[in-house]
């Protein structure tokens, strides 16, 4: 041990942002987001991947040579020029199925993501802002849901509903997937709660509802979006899982259903491995897209994670080329300790 308190660093010097022209800083949130995605390789990869799937979902007819359901071909064909991934046991083109199946998976991801996030925001923010008994009750519910193993619970519920259509899946997943986000949001609001700008709004005479919606939420957009992406990822995997287990609608056009039928036909052993593997790969890729995008949001909310470019400006300083430093972006430096109230 060297010194007590060695971890303390003086804050980096304040860099003057006032000189920047308005066009460069169009808006803090939009600008930061775009920059974060562009600069972060993982996030860029995720964005491209997601874009790819979105295109498939919107215009499947342009990409897929055949329709999902047409059984016009010979079953169990190996990959060929006419059928890039071969055909299923019923003679459907696997590649086309994958393309058409994208839409449903994406819809589930976005819808469940949206629903979970909305619930998480309402519960998490209310619990933290209203405190007291309300917080106690809401937190209890959140914690219970967090602790219960969600997937078995989902299976139970879905089993009651018998064969679950798209809407049912969305509702079930949405109602069970908000607890993690709620917890995160609650913590964040708790830390914000005594910030002066909120007290300033109270002293100004704003109503509580106004403060929550217009003062607190806008400062948490990155966390909310991160929560959304996390929920979307969870939805993709959970939905595929549900459908694979057979609780989905067997006539639905989705990757999970493909897995179900592949399993039923023992695709792996019967010489149609791609039928079983490829839907799983797609699920994984879409999930990865959301996960990768999440990195960009981590960076926005925590500037300390932003990587610092190799500093190789000509003529300044003596850093070795190739030195990569872990960075923290300059925050306005403030020496003065807050006096206790």
């Amino acid at each position: 041990m060297a010194f007590p308190g060695v971890a303390l660093q003086p804050a980096p010097p304040e860099t003057q942002a006032a000189e920047q022209t308005p066009s460069r800083r169009r808006g803090q949130r939009g600008g930061n987001l775009w920059r974060a995605i562009r600069h972060n390789r993982k996030a860029t990869a995720g964005a491209i991947l997601l874009l790819f799937f979105v295109v498939l979902a919107i215009l499947p007819g342009q990409v897929a040579p055949y329709s999902y359901t047409s059984t016009a071909f010979k079953p169990a064909l190996q990959p060929s020029a006419a059928h890039w991934l071969g055909t299923t046991a019923l003679g459907q083109d696997i590649f086309s199925q994958l393309v058409y199946g994208t839409r449903e998976s994406l819809i589930i991801a976005l819808a469940v993501g949206g629903l979970s996030t909305v619930i998480a925001v309402i519960i998490g923010v209310s619990a933290a802002y209203l405190r007291g008994v309300t917080d106690g009750v809401l937190s209890l519910i959140t914690d219970v849901l967090l602790v219960i193993p969600t997937f078995p619970l989902i299976i139970l519920i879905a089993a009651y509903v018998r064969s679950a259509g798209l809407v049912t899946i969305i509702i079930v997943l949405g109602l069970l997937g908000w607890s993690y986000g709620a917890r995160q949001l609650r913590s964040q609001v708790l830390s914000l709660r005594d910030r002066d700008f909120l007290e300033s709004a109270r002293v100004r005479g704003e109503r509580r509802s106004y403060i929550i919606i217009f003062e607190i939420l806008p400062t948490m957009t990155s966390l909310i979006v991160a929560s959304f992406l996390g929920a979307a990822l969870y939805a993709v995997l959970a939905a595929a899982g549900l459908q694979f287990v057979g609780l989905g609608d067997p006539n639905a056009q989705s990757w999970g259903t493909m897995l179900y039928w592949a399993e039923n036909s023992e695709a792996l052993g019967a010489g149609m491995p791609l039928w079983a593997i490829m839907p799983g790969v797609c699920v994984a890729l879409l999930g990865a897209a959301f996960a990768l995008l999440n990195y960009a949001f981590d960076e926005i909310s925590n500037p300390a994670l932003r990587p610092v470019r190799k500093a190789m400006r000509a003529g300044r300083g003596g850093l070795d080329p190739g030195t990569v430093l872990e960075g923290s972006d300059a925050e306005p430096s403030r020496h003065r300790e807050r006096r206790d109230r």
């Binding site: 006032a18 806008p218 006096r339």
Partner: protein, 354 residues
């Protein structure tokens, strides 16, 4: 005699410690009688734990008093039951906060806070007038050009600039009294003067009164007309600024003044230095709370809590040992010539120990 704007009587605020079933009480503010007139800057001076910030929050209706009453233009605050009454008060008595880095919402531009405040407190203005008014108040606090500043985000501005925005927001309500809670203590020294000058200017040009809460008695001297010194939840001394600072009657005020560094005086590295432990405000009981640190303490100080008594004209102190002037007809002595610190009069029968 200045027109009285705000008055408190017996203002008290206690906090219960230890949750719902706690048995200990924190006496943050006890029995405070404060008066602020029109076009007046009153400095509320005290260290942490003195209760000055709690008073600010009581006046801003963040807390309700445990006892006592606040009168604004002779109306008691407890009678403000409707939302519109309360809004009117809040528009008349806004607050400026200490920390420039957290007192403005970082997600919005400067214009948002200003316009929003006006929508709440001056609903008669239309959009055009609101923008004009926003620019006017930014000019009044010295942020120019106003239209450029309106479009900026807080992170693009320095601490001093943000504090000016804070004052501008308060000014946009056309207030009568601004509560400034340590507005300069987190700013660099050379920037503080700029803000203090803004405050003085606001009093002159806009006719606004300011309650300037601070721990720095030198800055209080710079801007304030009157000074109120607090210790451990009580007012221990109050009066016109020069009078209190040149002739401090309460031992705590004397201690505070002696602790302010004077670059011209040689350092007195003496053996005895004040132990400066924080005062007891949890279940304190009767008796003077400054007694443990007071070199003049007598038996009386342990038994009875001293009340504010007039010492000279307009100058009150709460101390059993301080002796009031026999007559109040003596005009206030002029300030001592530059460079010579005025020696505080030793209370009768005691020796100065600082």
């Amino acid at each position: 005699m200045t027109d009285e704007l705000l008055r408190t009587e017996g203002l008290t605020r206690h906090f219960r410690l230890g949750g719902l079933l706690g048995r200990h009480t924190l006496h943050a503010v006890d029995d405070v009688n404060l008066a602020i007139g029109r076009r007046e800057i009153v400095a509320l001076v005290g260290e942490s734990g003195s209760g000055k910030s709690t008073i600010a929050r009581l006046l801003a209706m963040v807390y309700k008093p445990t006892a006592g009453e606040i009168y604004f233009e002779n109306r008691p605050l407890s009678s403000l039951s409707s939302r519109s009454d309360q809004l009117e008060y809040r528009g008349n008595v806004p607050m400026v906060f200490q920390d420039p880095y957290s007192s403005i919402n970082p997600a919005y531009r400067v214009s948002h806070g200003l316009i929003r405040g006006m929508k709440l407190h001056r609903p008669d203005l239309d959009h055009q007038r609101r923008t004009e008014e926003a620019e006017r108040v930014l000019n009044a606090v010295g942020l120019v050009p106003a239209d450029v500043v309106l479009a900026k985000f807080p992170y693009e501005m320095s601490g001093g600039q943000r504090q000016r925005v804070g004052f501008a927001q308060a000014l946009a309500y056309r207030p009568k009294l601004i509560l400034a809670d340590e507005p300069v203590s987190m700013l660099d020294v050379s920037i503080r003067i700029g803000l203090l000058n803004v405050m003085s200017d606001l009093r002159e040009r806009e006719g606004v009164s300011i309650l300037y809460i601070t721990h720095d008695i030198a800055s209080a001297r710079y801007v304030a007309d009157r000074v109120v010194v607090m210790y451990a939840g009580y007012v221990v001394e109050q009066g016109p600024t020069e009078e209190v600072l040149q002739r401090p009657q309460h031992p705590y005020t004397q201690l505070l003044l002696s602790a302010v560094p004077d670059p011209k005086a040689p350092v007195a590295v003496s053996g005895s230095s004040d132990a400066s432990e924080p005062p007891k405000v949890i279940d304190p009981g009767e008796g003077c709370r400054f007694r443990p640190r007071c070199p003049y303490a007598v038996d009386e100080c342990a038994i009875a809590t001293p009340r504010l008594r007039p010492m000279r004209s307009g100058h009150l102190a709460a101390c059993h040992v301080a002796v009031p002037e026999v007559s109040f007809t003596t005009p206030l002595a002029p300030t001592t010539p530059a460079g010579e610190p005025a020696a505080p009069p030793p209370p009768a029968g005691a020796e100065a120990a600082w």
